[in-house]
């Protein structure tokens, strides 16, 4: 009786958790080879060839990779610093609520808000104008829809850093880093040694899977680069959707080629991350 019931659960798991993913992947694969699709006429390698030849995927992947890596590095670094320096203050009643507030802001709103603040007609441009720093809107520096992806990076950091602060504070408490630090101190370690040998290793070791996961999420982010990105290069999700929804019906399959490549890469990352035997991630 018991065995049967757990089999039902596993079947449900496969139905909800595995089948849709497999179906989506196979569909994209077939579409990318022109096997399905109203405007296609049967199997062809032409779409794969043209995507690989144009380099559009690699350009976009590299661009997304660098942005995600930079944003995660800044966020984790900043969050570690804040945790190290302010852990005591952040436990106070008022602050301990305030630091949760950024969790209530979704990507859409962050993107919108960043646009309002940093565009050439935005809040900071107005203030600069008021103080006579600029005389025309066009003199304000490019901070959104810009080549260096400043707007995207800023949004990512403001979205991800608060999360890591909360996570590190939590690990700090649960892993008794405080007690360990006191112990190290009584054994003669100086503050720098405590930070580098006790604090950092414990926090990073306990959370690195999550850090990598956040990197992967940012790699596939959609709303923020849609609002704050430029027309070329584009981040992966934006590129895929644009290619799939384009005017030229004969080229839709190229979007599915990019989708297949992207899926393969993140799936490979998942296998590397989660297949080896180890304790599961700290928290989700």
């Amino acid at each position: 009786m018991k065995i049967k019931k757990s089999n039902v659960s596993i079947l449900l798991f496969v139905l909800i958790g595995v089948v849709p993913f497999a179906a989506a992947f196979i569909y994209a694969l077939l579409y990318s080879f022109g096997v399905i699709g109203v405007a296609n006429n049967g199997f062809t390698l032409q779409f794969w060839e043209s995507v690989l030849a144009s380099g559009i995927f690699f350009k976009s992947f590299l661009y997304s990779f660098i942005i995600a890596l930079t944003a995660v590095t800044i966020s984790v670094g900043g969050a570690l610093w804040i945790t190290l320096k302010f852990k005591k203050q952040l436990e106070k009643r008022f602050l301990s609520f305030i630091i949760y507030l950024p969790l209530a802001i979704p990507g859409v709103v962050t993107g919108f808000f960043t646009l309002q603040l940093f565009s050439k007609g935005g809040f900071f441009a107005r203030i600069s104008h008021k103080f006579g720093l600029i005389t025309k809107a066009s003199e304000f520096p490019d901070l959104v829809n810009d080549g260096l992806a400043f707007g995207i990076l800023l949004s990512f950091v403001t979205m991800v850093m608060p999360f890591f602060v909360l996570l590190f504070l939590n690990v700090y408490k649960n892993e008794r880093v405080e007690e360990l630090s006191v112990l190290a101190q009584s054994l003669g370690a100086n503050p720098n040694q405590i930070a580098l040998r006790v604090f950092l290793p414990i926090l990073i070791k306990k959370t690195w899977v999550l850090i990598v996961l956040y990197f992967i999420f940012l790699l596939g982010a959609y709303e923020v680069p849609l609002i704050l990105g430029q027309e070329s290069p584009q981040m992966l999700s934006v590129l895929i959707i644009q290619e799939i929804k384009q005017y030229d019906l004969d080229k839709i399959s190229e979007g599915y080629v990019v989708a297949v490549l992207y899926t393969l890469i993140v799936s490979a990352a998942a296998i590397v991350l989660f297949l080896p035997k180890r304790k599961s991630a700290y928290a989700n």
Binding site: L15, A39, S138, N145, K245
Partner: protein, 407 residues
Amino acid sequence: MRRVNHILFGILIGVSVLSCGEKTTQDNEKLKSASWEEIQDNAEGTIVNFMMWQGSTAINDYINNYVVPSVKKKFNIDLQISGGQGPEIVQLVMGEKQADIEQGQVDMVWINGETFFQLRKIEGLWGPFVGLLPNASFINFEDSFISTDFQQAVNGMEAPWSINQFAIVYDSEKLPSPPKSIPELEKFIREHPGTFTISNDFTGMTLLKSFMAELGGGPNALNGSFDEDKYNQLSEKLWDFINNNKQYFWKEGSTFPKEQSKMNQLYANGELLIAYGFSEGGIEDKVLTGLYPKSTKGYAWENGTIRNSNYLGILHNAPQKAGAMQVINFLLSPEAQLKKADANGMDSNTVLSMEKLEPEWKEKFLDARKRQYGPTLKQLEVNAIAEPAPEYMIRLYEDFRKKVIEN
């Protein structure tokens, strides 16, 4: 795992095997020869889904606060609006075709020439139906800008809804004499770097079409069916012009706004000195809502800007074709067209012919509120050029991305 794989493939195959059926086609054909009374009977009490571009407050207000309650009251039709334009509509129809959906999600759509072209290519439209609508008799089909859509005869497959012309928008206080030709534009952007751009959307591509006509030597240079050689030759000139002057564009041409609304915002902020758009520039409501300064004016390019109409179509798998016809007939009624022409409202030109209307309606149209700021369709008339074949647009989209944006 092996067993899991079996289940998975079973389900996949089950879902993807296409089923066929042709039962509804007969009813559809019957509807084409039905009398208007029969159609009205069929339309009564239906829920009609209308997919349209929702990018303007004035348009949304007209639809939500006038059309929806009116058709409910008059015909007991629940009109439901969903957001979507060109490619999204085509994608939906393609997806439904692929999945063999006989009862589609959407009944009627608001489209223009290149979507018309693509929908016809995949046989996504139902019709001809325009001849069945009583109010179609008021439409000014003698006007070739109404009866021809992107060089394609409309042939009753889509009903004209509004007619308008593309116009360039500028602030007459900041810029007393704006450029009116490509050489003047070149001079202008060199003198005012960073104040002009091309939006990477329908609006921007329409501007590029009129540039191509100018480079081709005259307003009618692109008339006729798509000509590959002509396109290659003229578009090369166009990309040369843009790329040679790229550093004088907004953000030094390193990027372009994705949507015209974004460009409008840049104009409103004073970042751009020149904007442009359909509906004779769409100036009126933006001045009235305070987005644009009151000194904003609109004009047509010397070689002409594009004049076209936009249309309402019924999808091939629309569940409520009769209901959609009833709604479209209402949208073509003098009453609804008059309301739509209100300069403080949606502010869009009627497709009805004044000669065909009853005198009282004609008078009402003449008495309707006029624009205070934007130019009228009549004023731009001498510089009107027809839409070239849809392939020009589709190719421009792709090449603008490849040869300018990604360059």
